[in-house]
């Protein structure tokens, strides 16, 4: 199983109505349906991924996130999830607003650009970093809005969002003491469970 799924599942209320933006092969939704009895829908545009979702019986809707989510009414979901995709949409800030309009809560995960390996590559070699959690080259990456944990915290502050839960993992998805102590230096992926502005 994808290592982030168990972490996310712990944050999901049983029976919730869940929208997964960029649901990929549907593994998360299939698991949440099985383990948590959620009523879930996923949005995806990759044809191969959509076929995978059909095969595992996940409700997959072919829809481009960058075309907007205006077809989803406000408060139509309990939870909107976006794993490892926020950094590749046109406007992550507007996306966050939309996620919290459609759902009461959202969960986002994203890669940390301030991980020490990234910092080292940029500082020492003067080149765009390539790491396990950021495998693409600058010209073919789907990640057009990379940020650091500190940047995302600042955005949440600016929007006055309620941070229900936040934590950081390293590339092995373990909770190394260094990661807890210096998340923006040793963490690779962040998990945020957010609520609407206070």
């Amino acid at each position: 199983m994808r290592p982030d799924i168990a972490i996310i599942a712990d944050l999901v209320t049983p029976g919730a109505r869940v929208l997964d933006l960029g649901c990929g092969d549907g593994e998360l939704l299939a698991y949440l349906k099985r383990a948590k009895g959620v009523n879930g829908y996923g949005l995806e545009i990759d044809p191969e991924m959509i076929t995978c979702c059909i095969t595992v019986g996940v409700n997959v809707i072919e829809q481009d996130l960058d075309q907007g989510l205006t077809n989803f009414p406000s408060d139509s979901f309990d939870l909107v999830v976006m794993t490892d995709t926020l950094q590749s949409v046109k406007r992550p800030d507007i996306m966050l607003d939309e996620m919290l309009r459609i759902g009461r809560e959202c969960i986002v995960t994203f890669p940390n650009f301030a991980h020490w390996r990234c910092r080292l590559q940029l500082a020492a070699r003067g080149k765009m970093p390539i790491a396990k959690h950021l495998p693409h080259r600058w010209y073919n990456t789907p990640n057009i809005h990379l940020c650091t944990f500190a940047d995302f915290e600042a955005l949440c502050d600016a929007k006055n969002l309620t941070v229900i839960e936040r934590f950081v993992v390293n590339s092995e998805y373990t909770n190394h003491p260094l990661v807890s102590r210096f998340p923006n230096l040793f963490g690779t992926t962040a998990f945020y469970q957010l609520g609407r502005p206070q």
């Binding site: 829908y41 044809p47 959509i50 059909i54 095969t55 019986g57 409700n59 809707i61 072919e62 077809n71």
Partner: protein, 384 residues
């Protein structure tokens, strides 16, 4: 047919007929004192009777959806691309039922049938039929065949509308509904196209107020125009360009009344062949059923409320270049299904083939179609 029957064909098939002697009351209030339905089946019905799927035909369709009636047939049934062993609707897994709807002109009771009250063809006196009537009469056929619940009801265009209506009117009898190139109701533009087609037929002097059979005429020119118009709207600009471009048939500028471009020749051929095999009164009836389809109307124009009744899962497929039943119309259905908390999968297939794409073996369309039907088979417990 000169070539042998392909291995992935259902092969030679023949239509069956079911006669219903009890009166059938239609939504318009009128009654058919007896009704005949023509249908075909492909693939075996399993012992649990759980693998039956219903094919609903579109405007010009009929019961002959797959296979060949004879070795001399120059083409197979109208949806042969999708139905057969190993095809998206796999006859190794499913028992496929395909009928000619009441009001049709391919054997089932319709305007060409004899009106028992007058002893002559119904013609223009055939009662108005609706999508709901089709669903009700399809259910009568299902009863007669011992099928209590369809594993899937499948249709493209007007056929998809029937599948949708099934889930609302008889929710416990449909496990899955496949709505392909469909809409929850027609737009004004769509109704306008249908009206032009109807006027073309009714303006034809051979129409004789619909009594052309009594007068031994056929409004072939009207039908031809109706089909030519329809056919253009079922294609896309890009599709016609790919197929014909500006290829010239005859370069003689002086012969302004003659066919000059290949696309004209193609349309003439389509229109002419249609006018020889289709009934004008049926065309009027079917387009009217299409115009009036609007399941939300019975629920205060709330499509979500209408679809809340459904107990089935849904697949909704649209085609990017389909401007007659545009992807936005499918999106409305999908959004309503999500709001109604139904299980739904939606795909938007990128193709230049317009509305007619639902009949064609577009690779991504077939991938989605096949995957979904395998999911259907698994859900209803069919083992291959």
């Amino acid at each position: 047919m000169s070539a042998p029957i392909p291995a992935d064909s259902v092969g030679l098939v023949s239509p069956h007929q079911k006669v219903f002697e009890a009166p059938v009351r239609l939504l318009c209030g009128r009654v058919l004192s007896r009704m005949e339905l023509f249908y075909e089946t492909y693939g075996e019905l399993n012992a649990a009777r759980s693998n039956a799927v219903l094919i609903c035909h579109a405007l010009s369709g009929h019961h002959h959806a797959a296979g060949y009636h004879g070795l001399d047939d120059d083409r197979p049934g109208w949806w042969d691309t999708c139905i057969g062993p190993g095809k998206p609707i796999d006859t190794n897994l499913f028992h496929v039922v395909s009928l000619n709807n009441v009001g049709g002109c391919h054997g089932s009771t319709g305007p060409r049938s004899i009106n028992p009250q007058t002893g002559r063809a119904f013609g223009p006196d055939f009662p108005a039929v609706t999508v709901r009537d089709w669903v009700a009469t399809q259910a009568m056929l299902a009863d007669a065949l011992g099928i209590t619940r369809w594993a899937a009801v499948i249709g493209g265009s007007l056929g998809g509308m029937q599948a949708m209506q099934w889930t609302i009117d008889l929710p416990d009898r449909v496990a899955h509904a496949l709505l392909i190139a469909c809409a929850s109701r027609l737009s004004a533009q769509n109704i306008a196209f249908n009206e032009i087609a109807r006027q073309a037929i009714m303006f034809d002097p051979d129409f004789n107020g619909g009594r052309y059979l009594d007068n031994a005429t056929n409004p072939a020119r009207g039908l031809m125009l109706a089909r030519m118009l329809g056919h253009v709207t079922y294609q896309s600009d890009d599709g016609l360009r790919d197929k014909f471009g500006r290829d010239v048939k005859s370069g003689d500028l002086a012969a302004a009344h003659d066919v000059q471009f290949q696309v004209e020749s193609y349309l003439h051929h389509q229109g002419r062949s249609f006018s020889q095999r289709f009934d004008a009164n049926t065309y009027l009836l079917m387009t009217r059923a299409l115009d009036h389809f609007d399941p939300a109307r019975d629920f205060d124009d709330d499509l979500v409320a209408a679809l809340c009744r459904a107990q089935s899962d849904f697949l909704v497929v649209a085609f990017t270049s389909d401007w007659r039943f545009a992807p936005a119309r499918s999106k409305e259905i999908v959004d309503a299904l999500i709001a109604a908390r139904k299980n739904v999968v939606s795909a938007v297939i990128d193709t230049p083939h317009g509305h007619d794409a639902f009949l064609l073996p577009v690779p991504r369309y077939f991938q989605v179609f096949r995957s979904y039907m395998l999911h259907v088979a698994a859900r209803v417990g069919i083992r291959s």
